[in-house]
Subunit: 319 residues, 2 copies
């Protein structure tokens, strides 16, 4: 407990925000504003499963928090604070310094201070578990089941780069150092649109973050909401670094590529102007890519209106 505590104190302790109780007691504590509910999510990342052993530790620290902030964003929740569990095979001060810097930089910019956690020596490889907590008015939360027939479908940011970077790193695409350099940040340092997401609460209807691929993730909204959708393939916001790639590679990246951590959301047609204005204010790119229909199923309309719905699934941790 002593050395363990020193470790936390040295790399992870920051002064807790006013009114918060941070590291050093049995629990961390913080207030939730009246009228809001607490929103929370947790993600476990394991070396050799979710990241490579030689991952740049700053990128890992960033991403471990980013994937959780993405879940808060998908509810339209404002981040309040986070907890970090970290197991390491040995204490490596350079590694810890870089990891904690990557973590804290994102925590600060997202307003999601680290207020507690746990550390341990692992038997094998690095293990990271982050829990985020945020707040949202319960009736404004962006639920998966809230899509309405006639809604527009939108995505934030661009699509495809993280998938291409992953495939390059895994050797599933021919080596291309230039393309890897242009796409790697999307995989390793995703930036969920947390500011924009908060402004969507009470404006948009359904939302989720694209972690397992647009097609599969949108499928969760359709299933939960009991409806279908049509996507306009040509409208999908392709990452500019991917221009010129083979059509099949692009289709896979756009429709089934995971690790995106951007939002896919639905909203009424009367909200188009509002959504673009809010996006400008949050400096977030937003693109309208289709609409919700009553008829079940997801149809992706390609050139000439042909259905090009990809058969590729998303990422399955147990497959």
């Amino acid at each position: 407990m002593n050395k363990e505590f020193d470790l936390i104190a040295r790399y992870f302790s920051r002064p807790a925000p006013s009114g918060f109780l941070g590291v050093g007691d049995d629990c961390a504590m913080f207030p939730v504003e009246p009228g809001f509910h607490l929103a929370t999510s947790t993600d476990l990342l394991i070396e050799g499963r979710h990241f490579f052993a030689d991952v740049e530790p700053g990128a890992l620290g960033h991403k471990a928090l980013a994937v959780n902030l993405s879940d808060l964003a998908a509810m339209g929740a404002r981040p309040i604070a986070c907890l970090l569990s970290l197991a390491l095979p040995a204490i490596d001060h350079d590694w810890l310094a870089a990891f904690s810097r990557g973590f804290h930089e994102l925590a600060e910019s997202a307003g999601c201070p680290l207020i507690g956690g746990d550390t341990a020596r692992s038997v094998n490889g690095v293990i990271v578990n982050v829990t985020v907590m945020g707040q949202v008015r319960p009736h404004q939360a962006l639920r998966r089941a809230a899509a309405k027939v006639g809604d527009d479908i939108w995505v934030t940011g661009t699509l495809g780069a993280a998938d291409i970077a992953l495939r390059l790193l895994q050797g599933r695409l021919p080596p291309d150092p230039e393309l890897l350099a242009a796409t790697r940040a999307a995989l390793e340092r995703p930036l969920p649109p947390w500011r924009y997401a908060q402004s969507l609460a009470g404006v948009a209807h359904a939302a989720l973050d694209i972690s397992d691929g647009l097609q599969q993730d949108l499928g969760h909204i359709l299933k939960a909401s009991g409806c279908g959708a049509v996507l306009d393939y040509a409208a999908l916001p392709l990452d500019p670094a991917l221009r010129g790639l083979d059509d099949d590679v692009l289709r896979q990246a756009l429709l089934a590529g995971g690790d995106v951590y951007q939002l896919c959301f639905t909203a009424g047609r009367d909200k188009r102007e509002t959504l673009r204005l809010l996006a400008d204010q949050a400096a977030t790119r937003v693109t309208r890519i289709g609409y919700i229909r009553a008829e079940p199923g997801l149809e992706v309309r390609g050139p000439g209106g042909m259905d090009i719905t990809a058969q590729a699934g998303g990422f399955d941790h147990f497959s």
Copy 2:
């Protein structure tokens, strides 16, 4: 994501309490009562480090939640809900059924429903991370720094059994099947006094849960509160199963034995009757074991008033 989700649904999903949002969206959500702060803690348990590979899965499910409930108890917080991250090397349905039963039985009795989580395939061994969330009025929370000179020191439950069971299992004591049978539940199925703990908010001063040994843990209160303490060794509530053991073994178990998950707390002398009444109502054993003094340091008074403060430290994950 599909099979992963099925796994969660099959073994861990329960209907979320009214007003809560449980498994199935990007975040879980729940209300926090006005006037209360959210209290939260997280614990990471790794096979081969925190538990044996052949641990009975029901006991592991129980303990993973119990150690976290113990942290809430140590703040005087009422449990609201919990999150579970679970990584397994392979899907073993018998194991999952037993683990989830152990987890849910405790969650139900403590009023701390599982409302979300994450699952993954591990590379090596089982990994469990639990995050608990509860609520407490901020000015009534049992802080480590809140001990006052003249306070009584109390412990809940009994001491020593978990340590003896652990030493028997590790072969650090001669085999004794009868003693192991009598002590094993204390190690594997600890029951933190969560009901009593809630009633201590606003009544007691400082508190923590005994996870690393009474002496070391009480030291955290003394350091945080800037005071010292005297313990009456003869008053320590020895687990009845340990009667007749060697004095040295007992002293180690009582003062330095970890994994207890009972509370050590301080309270004004005027609260003795109240504390006993509340303990009766919660069916919790409570024992007054010493007092807080201004002079720094911890003195354990043995037979004849001699200081027998053990030199043994507690458990250090990185030692």
